[in-house]
Point group: C2
């Protein structure tokens, strides 16, 4: 690995986008063609322009792979190529012998202040799966809705429970989402009612992106799973609890979940997260052999959710950590494919809501306000049990160790009022 020396681009203290990161995203400048980009500090770097200037030669790429509306063609080139490009970028922006040094003309072609670019949805998501891998979240939900003395279902500690979600409604950070209309049955009456959801919630999640495609019938072992993962993003799985509650038996969530899900724009590679590996929680009982694994398969990633009200004040309502998750990504992917289900480059896999042990670490309003019984007071003096119209939800995440910081930026959305339905 190339040693990081200094940087050609100023990086603010506590920036998520250090030279240890080098994430990948898709941006647009001045309504021009979308291009693949990375971010260093508050500067966006145009990889297509770099490639056209022969600065990404011999990485296994051609310039065309960077002039694309999504990362998929780049990702499809494979792990050796992602790694070569990331290492080249670290070199270009930190080595005193870099051709970028003192070449102001070249530099101005490839670098743009981040506030001057539009970040686009970075992936074509063929299939999106959502897991349910936080023991604390599953326990909280079980206590609230099933049986406080026996909150976990019998399968939970044997299976990384997951289900298929909607790909089309996954949007990039910054996209507002309308409050959904739908059927609910608040009083368990014989007849449901129709109208805007009254229980719109966030779910603090992270998601990983696969970097390979497999054939129907193939499976991936826990040993090989991380090689199949390109990187990770922050993920807000917006949920309408009242719609979900009425619809979800027996086939799972549907309209309560598919009205908008938000990803952060920069995909952080597993390579960048390498320094932050940790052991996950102990698993008892031991899972079946195909779910067993060796090594540290979790990551110490600090997560935060803030709500910003229309008045502009912001309140951190949740602080959690990715390492709390009971099931790790290698187990999730091994489970997902053990039946021969095929995966594709760009598929997305949500972790499920990431809750910690304490009340302030719960990853949804449902849990934070404990089923509307403990309203959360915000900095502007108002209180919430779920989200109001015009509330903005901001998820942030970063990892830090030994002076190295790698972060994800933000996944942001604002809840807009419900739209009238077509009749």
């Amino acid at each position: 690995m190339y040693e990081i020396k200094d940087t050609l681009i100023p990086i603010p203290d506590d920036s998520d986008f250090t030279l240890h990161n080098i994430p990948f995203g898709v941006m647009r400048r001045d309504h021009s063609q979308p291009v693949v980009a990375t971010r260093i500090g508050n500067t966006a770097i145009d990889l297509h322009a770099l490639a056209m200037n022969h600065l990404l030669d011999d990485t296994g790429t051609s310039p065309g792979v960077f002039r694309q509306p999504v990362l998929n063609p780049f990702i499809a080139l494979g792990q050796p190529v992602w790694r070569a490009v990331r290492q080249r970028l670290i070199y270009l922006f930190s080595d005193p012998d870099s051709p970028l040094v003192s070449n102001h003309h070249l530099f101005s072609q490839i670098a743009t202040p981040i506030h001057g670019v539009e970040m686009l949805m970075p992936l074509h998501v063929g299939d999106y799966t959502d897991f349910y891998s936080s023991l604390e979240h599953a326990t909280n939900v079980g206590i609230m809705f099933r049986d406080a003395s026996n909150p976990l279902l019998p399968n939970w500690k044997h299976i990384p429970v997951g289900y298929h979600g909607r790909s089309s409604s996954i949007v990039v950070s910054g996209t507002p989402v309308h409050r959904p209309n739908g059927q609910t049955n608040p009083d368990n009456s014989p007849s449901p009612v129709f109208g805007p959801s009254r229980q719109v919630d966030f779910e603090l999640e992270m998601a990983f992106v696969t970097g390979i495609s497999t054939r129907l019938g193939d499976s991936i072992s826990t040993d090989d799973a991380e090689k199949a993962i390109f990187g990770m993003v922050l993920f807000n799985d917006l949920s309408a609890r009242d719609i979900q509650k009425w619809e979800y038996v027996p086939l799972g969530p549907f309209l309560g979940k598919n009205f908008g899900s938000i990803v952060s724009p920069w995909v952080v590679t597993l390579d960048a997260l390498e320094p932050f590996r940790v052991q996950g929680p102990p698993q008892d009982p031991s899972p079946l052999p195909y779910l067993q694994f060796t090594g540290k398969k979790s990551f110490d990633i600090h997560l935060e959710v803030a709500i910003k009200t229309p008045q502009g004040t912001e309140t951190a309502v949740c602080r959690s950590n990715f390492r709390h998750l009971y099931w790790n990504m290698a187990q999730q992917l091994a489970h997902h494919t053990v039946n021969g289900c095929n995966i594709n480059v760009g598929d997305l896999y949500g972790s499920g809501t990431i809750s910690g042990h304490e009340a302030g670490s719960f990853g949804s309003m449902l849990e934070l306000a404990w089923k509307e019984t403990r309203p959360i007071t915000l900095a502007d003096g108002t209180s919430r049990t779920f989200l109001n119209d015009h509330d903005t939800v901001i998820i942030r995440g970063f990892a830090k160790t030994n002076g190295i910081r790698v972060g994800f930026g933000e996944a942001v959305t604002t809840i807009l009022p419900a739209k009238p339905i077509a009749l």
Copy 2:
């Protein structure tokens, strides 16, 4: 509509592919590029070759849209274009003044015997949704697994219950599928076991394909829903009942369903199904206003499932009809989008298992053999409660009225033995 006179191509009695049909699919000849095609009798017609010979001029298409691996670009041109192309094809193959008459050279360029072409997966399915819209199927499942005296869940008659399925594992008819491996818990013991599923089942379904894309936040009314539908296919939603049973609470089916789902290769347009419109079953209680509709919104489509054993004998195990479905496609699509969920061209929507009232009309082995209590005897003398390795499942479907026949051909798959998993 162009009046159908005679035909330039012989059409066998009881062919599904009359001039009233004109379905769309994607085929390949001799390892050449995939092209969009239609089928008349037992002849496949190359629409790209027709377009290159200017026989599809003024239909709103260009030849390039027919030299594609999927129908999506053609479908995206919109309903007026599908209709114009279908009408042109009817004219070309039935009018005495057709330029195809007596032009043997041209004819040989565009026509191929069906046995000489390879039919490909006709769609890029961005998102796949499966509904659960048969009252008889939901009732049978409820009797077997929940409460025989109260088999329907409270939401069933208010919501066209649906859930998201896996797009990647949808394959075209003729593709064999391996028996899935997975966790099951046959004895409700404290510990699950791992191995090949012992309860691999078919599900007799049909599916519709959307022909428009909407924006996040938009909804589609029942009045407008059929304009958004391009056509229909036969669909076999293979299910591993033992895997499904252990995994499905609380978030729905996952690995029990995503190891292979089979579509018929020819998409039959709603226009072709127009003569077969019927009223669906009465709906009591009346659904919420957004699910109410006017007119005949169901179709009289005869369906059959046959099992062919390795010895080559075939047994019809189920005869059902699409018209049995309680919820119609317009209601399904209105429900799906009422919360603002966006849809795309090529998305697929399964009906759910289509069971009728009598035992011989049940659309799955689970119901036909009533949870393994009533084995089905096949023509070769063997019996089944679920599918064996090397069994071939054939779904067929057609509509017929007043001498007009329009059919779907077949959705066929063979169950292969489980593959060893990666370790």
